[in-house]
Amino acid sequence: MKKLVKKLLALGLAGATICGVLASCSPGADTSSSDSGSGAAQASQDAGGAQGGDGAQTAEKKKVVLWHLWTGAEAGYVDEAVAAYNAQSDLYEVEAVSTPDSQKIMVAIQAGTGPDITDDFTNNIGSYASKGIMMPLDDKIAEVGADLSDFVPSTLEACRYEGKLYALPVGMNLMALFYNKDLLAEAGYTEPPKTMEELYQMAVDTTKVNDDGTIDVLGFPDFPSVYYMDNFAAALGGGWYDENGKPASPDNEGNLMALQYAVKYREQFGVDNVAKFGSAGKYLDPTDPFLAGKETFRVDGNWLGQNIKELFKVDVNYGCTFLPYPEGREDLAGRGIASSSMYYIPSNAKEPDGAFDFLLYIAGPEGTMIQSVSRGGFPSLLSQFDSEEFKKSYDSDVFTALAESPNLFALPNVPQSTEYATICNEEVELALNLKQTPEQALQNIYERGSALFE
């Protein structure tokens, strides 16, 4: 009898595993996100309430729930835009909640307890729209006769999937090469590199190594590692997709060149040393090596200058220019990926009309100015390119030139984008750790990617 009870207990414990795993994995139970997320959400709610000014919701206004991914100062900008909307809207009252966990938002939407409107990045549109997560906007836009001609065409195009519009952009995300002028000057350089060959030589010349071989100053733009490959491959004429939105050929010269140079730098200074340097600091944090003056080159977005000067207030003597092109290929200057932040309405939103009204506001001139452009963001509206607020923002001249570059392109919106990006990261990582050659990595990406797209 006792043994039977024990066996039942054991099976019960094992059975609890199923519930345990699902519970421990669910974003609600994931302490990393729920603890910080809910705390931030509460803080933001408090801040939103305070900034909203009115505090209590006006009885006759319908409530629209906005969950956004921003935290800290950026969440404050969203709150300001929301407060401005609430002050001018007679019909709707938007309640903003900072929810910096996209999985949490997804699960809530699926459970029917999600927001009426939320935000994300355009590279997820293919995945979300193909699964029915997002509400198509074409009918609503036609209904109110909204004029979309002021949007930068490529940003609006990035919000479409299979011909339908699923979101509206709020600010463009462009990537450029940032460089530490002092570190370059120490090595005798007065101008930033134009070609990849020049960049590599400068990277080697400015790298400083400690006695034990570890790296004190990283010359190559290897941090954060996730930014390097996609953007340099694009700048050098490559990219992970071909013109049909399918995996790029393994012979793609731009991809091969970008990977070969990263591997070459690691071979020269030691894989372990470069990896140690990379994992010692955290992106946009006081330990960030570029902010600490310990990184010569950095591939980053139009938000970096604002972060350096306004948020972290560090004294880094930096410059900003286009990413380099291969020697003799001036025609590729200004080649890069354009993506955007965007807002969308979940397909099961309880207040879709209110959400759409707010969407038009937040993506319109006033909303984007408050949330993005006056805070160093790059406009997604053509009319804001000449605004004083944008001209005052850091590095706006370089990013404006980049936005006008004929070589700028948007990634295709495909349902497999997340999985394909994971495959690319995994194979590139093996090459960077010298576990396979760059050629093998690109071949594997092509084979695994092709199988995925089939």
């Binding site: 054991a10 699902l22 974003p27 699964k131 029915g132 997340t418």
Partner: protein, 312 residues
């Protein structure tokens, strides 16, 4: 003369049953709605192509066959087995050693017991963040100590050979819960047995092997089962470490350095919530259930050989 019990009349018995059911009803409803229904639905979902937003499409055993052809599934199994096979005995061993030390009669023992138990009341997220600093390859406390000793300083966070050992070290720091249960068990071993053994001339080691270990074997057995189940569900620390090692704050679907931290529960999570493959994730949950049930059954089968309940 034995008295006959008055028979309970049918009506009264029925009302007792009804009252019993009524009192148990909240639990019954909760169990049906929040346990049984999701479990049954997860069986169904494991046989479907389901992304949580569109109607499930029945695909038979396709999710299971796809998993058995998925290299990352085996990688996640290997990583999880590594943590289970090495992490469980290591935690038990360190927990037992600490309990033995804290079972000595020394002045200020309550202080030491509190001190050693303290790490296990620190929330997992907070302790993980703390350890990410200790394990920082360039500025971390651990590598600075190793440097002073002239030893190799591993890249704990991004070298695939060292990421799991780093988690094992983190795990050992938090064995306070295991230690406290062992401590209670040690204090439950009858003193008379030690006294009798001492009279027979038994030394410390013999007393430990022949009295202490058998005396606490039911507790070792319990902790072993719980440890195995917990390690099969290893998630939070790996999730945080990956977030840190990928540059921090960037939304990347990753299993850590060369997928060395892709534990089973993490891969299940990625399938469910990053890739929206709830059917595949449900299939993974059921495979894990079968594995855990099998391992638990095997451990139970061995208990006759080494677990002593005293009254058997």
């Amino acid at each position: 003369m034995a008295q006959k019990k008055p028979p309970v009349r049918g009506k009264k018995r029925n009302s007792h049953t009804a009252a019993g059911i009524l009192f148990a009803l909240p639990w019954i409803i909760g169990f049906l709605a929040f346990s049984l229904y999701p479990i049954v639905m997860s069986v169904y979902y494991s046989l479907t192509d389901f992304n949580m937003f569109q109607a499930p499409k029945f695909v038979g055993l396709e999710n299971y066959t796809a998993l058995f052809q998925d290299e990352k599934f085996y990688k996640s199994l290997w990583n999880t087995m590594y943590m289970t096979v090495l992490g469980t005995p290591l935690s038990l061993l360190v927990g037992l050693l600490m309990a033995l030390l804290l079972n000595q009669k020394v002045r200020g023992m309550p202080f030491f017991r509190t001190l050693f138990y303290l790490p296990s009341v620190v929330p997992l997220v907070a302790s993980s963040m703390l350890w990410l600093w200790i394990l920082n390859p360039q500025y971390g406390l651990l590598n600075q100590m190793l440097q002073k000793l002239g030893l190799y300083q591993p890249n704990w966070l991004t070298d695939p050979d060292f990421t799991k050992p780093a988690l094992l070290i983190m795990g050992v720091w938090g064995v306070g819960g295991i230690m406290i249960i062992f401590l209670a068990a040690l204090q439950d071993v009858p003193r008379s047995l030690y006294e009798a053994a001492e009279i027979d001339g038994a030394g410390t080691l013999k007393k430990f092997v022949h009295i202490t270990l058998p005396g606490i074997s039911p507790v070792i057995f319990f902790q072993l089962i719980m440890g195995v189940i917990n390690n099969f569900q290893y998630f939070t620390q790996a999730y945080l470490m990956i977030g840190s090692s990928t540059g921090g704050g960037l939304n990347v679907v990753s299993g850590g350095a060369e997928n060395s931290l892709l534990f089973y529960a993490l891969y299940l999570y990625q399938n469910a919530f990053n890739l929206f493959k709830m059917g595949k994730a449900s299939a993974m949950a059921w495979i894990l259930f079968l594995i855990v049930a099998l391992v638990t059954f095997v451990i139970f089968k061995t208990q006759d050989r080494w677990v002593s309940y005293g009254d058997d």
